[in-house]
Amino acid sequence: MLFTDEVTLAYREADRVVLAVDRVSVEVKQGEFIGIMGPSGSGKSSLLYLMSGLKLPTGGEVRYRNRVIHLLSERERMRLRRREFGFVFQQPYLLPYLTALENVLVAVPGDREAYGRALELFEQLGLLHLANRYPHKLSGGERQRVCVVRAMVHQPQIIFADEPTASLDHINGHAVIRLLADYRQKGAVVVVTHDPEMIADADRVYSLRDGRLVQPVRV
C-alpha cells in the first residue's frame, strides 16, 4: 500500500549536513497498525512527514499505491492528503471557534453524508455529548479523541499519528491508541511514539536511531 525505499531527508544546519532520515525503507500494508519508535531526535516524526507527503525526500522515494509521492504535483499531493490520509498530531489542536463536531467536519466541509458519519463516530466513541462543545470546554484527552475522529471521518486509507499520546495521561493515552488500533479494520494506521506500551498491539514496529532504522524490526 505504502512503502519507503531508501528514503532520506537531509537538511543543512550551519555548515554541516544533518540526515534527519537516512536511507530508511519501511512498508505499510492494508489493515496494519504500524508503530515507529525511537528516542527524541531519532527522526521518527520526520519519517512520518515523509511517508505522508508533508515533507519531500532529498533521496529515495515514497510510494503510495504505485505512485511516487514526491513526483506528484503539489495539488495532487494535497488531494492525496485530504482524501486518502488522516492526521493526528502531538498537540490536540482544534479550531477554537468551532464545536467538536464542526471541528471534525473541517476534514469534509459541505459533505452531508460525513455529518452522519461523524455523529456515528462520536456515538461509537462515547463522545456524542461533547459534539456541541467548544474546545475550551474539553479536556486534553477529549480534544485528542475529537482529533482522532477528525482523522477518521473521511474514511482515509491511512491514518498518520505523530506522538498522539504525548500530551495525555496514561488512561487517555490508552483510549486514543485503542481508537487508532481499531481503525485497522478500515485502513492502515501509522503511529509514532517513544512509549513502547502504546504500540504493544502493533502489527509491526520500526525502531529508529539517528535517522536510521535499527534492526531487527519487531513483528
Partner: protein, 392 residues
C-alpha cells in the same frame, strides 16, 4: 435521559456541514471581526457623509438656479438697456419664441456654504403668469405682486430657507444683503420644479438705480434651450451684452468646484490608504494568531490557494458587511440631517446620492487587496510542519 442529552448535543446540520464558511467565522469571532468591520463602517460613513454634503453644493446651485434651464438672460454691458443691435439679433433668432424685457433685484438665500444671491424677476402683470408657466411654477398660496407694488412672490423653498411667511418683509432698507429702498413684502408662495421669485417690474424700475433692463429669451421647448443658448452665444457681441445660460452656469460651477473636488479626492485617497494599510496590518496580526489553524488545514491537505481563497472570502464578507452597514448608517445620518437640519431651513441635501457612495467603494476594495497582499505571501511561505512541530 441519555437520549435527551444526546439530542440536545447534536448541532443543526446547516451550521455544522460547512464549518469553514466565512459567515460562521464572522459570527463566531465577533471580538475580532466586529472592530475591523466597525473601522470600515466609520470610514464609509466619514467619506459618504462628507462627499454627499460637498456634492450638495452642486445640487444647491443647480436647483436654486435651475430656472435658467428654461431661458437665458441677456444683460446690457454699456448702458441701462440691452444694445438695440443685440436686441435685433435676439429677435431675429428663429428659436427665440418668448422674449421679455425685465428688471431684477436681489435677495439672498442661506446655504451650508454661506449666503447665495437670488434674483427676483421684475415682470409686468401680463408677463408674470407666462414666466411661471415657462418655469413650471404655480401660485400655491397668496397672490402675485400687483403693478408697482412693493411686494414679491417666492418659491416655498426660498420662504422656508429665509423663514418667511406671507406678510413678512423680504427686502428692506435696513437689510444689508437684501436691500430695497422701501420694504418689500411677501404676498404669494410659488411651488414647482425650481426655485423662483417674481416682483413688479414697475416697482424695480422706480426704486432701484440705475433702472437696468435685461432681456429674457426662451426657446419653444426646454430641450431646444441649449441650442438657442449656443446660437445666441455665437451670434451676439459680448462687448454689447453678457449672457447667462444654464450651460455656462454648470461650466462655471464645475470649474469653481474643481479644486474642492481635487482636495476631497486627495483626502479620500489618504483615508482609504490609511484604512487599507491599517487593515492589512490587522489582517497580518490576525493571520499570525491563526497560524496553527492554517498550518493544520494545510497539513490536512488544503492547498495554499484554498487557504488564500478562504482568507479572501472571510475578508470580503467582512468588508462587504462593513461597507453595506456604513452606507446604511450614512443614509440614516444624512436623512436625519436632512429632516432635522436641512429641510426646516430650506437647504438642499440628497441623502440617497448614489454618486457620493461611489466614493466609498475604494474602501472595501483597498482593504481586501491589502489584506490579500499582506497575508498571501505569508501563506505561501508557511511551512505547516514547522508550525505543527512548534505549536499544533
Amino acid at each position: 435521559m441519555q437520549t435527551v442529552e444526546k439530542r440536545e448535543a447534536i448541532p443543526p446540520i446547516s451550521a455544522a456541514t460547512n464549518p469553514l464558511s466565512a459567515w460562521l467565522f464572522f459570527r463566531r469571532n465577533l471580538s475580532r471581526t466586529a472592530p475591523v468591520a466597525l473601522v470600515i463602517v466609520l470610514s464609509v460613513v466619514l467619506i459618504g457623509t462628507v462627499v454627499t454634503i460637498i456634492r450638495s453644493i452642486d445640487l444647491t446651485v443647480l436647483t436654486v438656479y435651475g430656472y435658467n434651464r428654461y431661458f437665458l438672460v441677456a444683460v446690457p454691458r454699456n448702458g441701462n438697456r440691452v444694445d438695440p443691435r443685440a436686441e435685433m439679433t435676439i429677435r431675429a433668432e428663429p428659436l427665440a419664441k418668448q422674449i421679455y424685457r425685465i428688471s431684477v433685484c436681489f435677495t439672498t438665500i442661506h446655504t451650508i456654504f454661506g449666503k447665495f444671491p437670488f434674483v427676483l424677476f421684475g415682470l409686468t402683470q401680463e408677463e408674470m403668469p407666462k414666466m411661471l408657466r415657462l418655469t413650471r411654477m404655480r401660485v400655491v398660496e397668496g397672490r402675485l405682486p400687483r403693478e408697482g407694488e412693493a411686494a414679491c412672490a417666492l418659491s416655498v423653498g426660498i420662504a422656508r430657507n429665509r423663514n418667511l411667511k406671507i406678510g413678512d418683509v423680504v427686502l428692506a432698507p435696513d437689510i444689508e444683503d437684501s436691500f430695497a429702498p422701501v420694504p418689500v413684502k411677501l404676498v404669494g408662495l410659488l411651488d414647482g420644479e425650481n426655485w423662483f421669485a417674481v416682483t413688479s417690474k414697475e416697482f424695480v424700475q422706480k426704486n432701484y438705480f440705475p433702472p437696468l433692463e435685461e432681456i429674457v429669451v426662451a426657446a419653444p421647448t426646454p430641450q431646444q434651450q441649449p441650442e438657442l443658448d449656443r446660437r445666441l452665444s455665437k451670434s451676439l457681441d459680448t462687448r454689447q451684452v453678457r449672457l447667462f445660460t444654464f450651460g455656462q452656469l454648470v461650466r462655471e460651477l464645475r470649474s469653481s468646484l474643481r479644486n474642492l473636488y481635487l482636495i476631497m479626492n486627495i483626502v479620500i485617497a489618504i483615508v482609504v490608504l490609511v484604512i487599507a494599510i491599517m487593515m492589512g496590518m490587522l489582517s497580518n496580526i490576525f493571520f499570525m494568531q491563526r497560524l496553527p489553524e492554517f498550518a493544520l488545514l494545510a497539513a490536512m491537505g488544503y492547498t495554499r490557494g484554498m487557504l488564500l481563497w478562504r482568507v479572501v472570502r472571510e475578508t470580503a464578507l467582512l468588508v462587504a458587511l462593513g461597507w453595506a452597514t456604513g452606507v446604511l448608517l450614512s443614509m440614516g445620518i444624512l436623512w436625519g440631517l436632512y429632516w432635522w437640519v436641512f429641510e426646516p431651513r430650506g437647504m438642499l441635501l440628497q441623502p440617497m446620492d448614489w454618486q457620493a457612495y461611489k466614493y466609498t467603494i475604494p474602501v472595501p476594495i483597498a482593504v481586501l487587496a491589502f489584506a490579500a497582499m499582506s497575508v498571501g505571501p505569508r501563506l505561501l511561505a508557511m511551512d505547516p510542519v514547522l508550525v505543527i512541530e512548534r505549536k499544533v
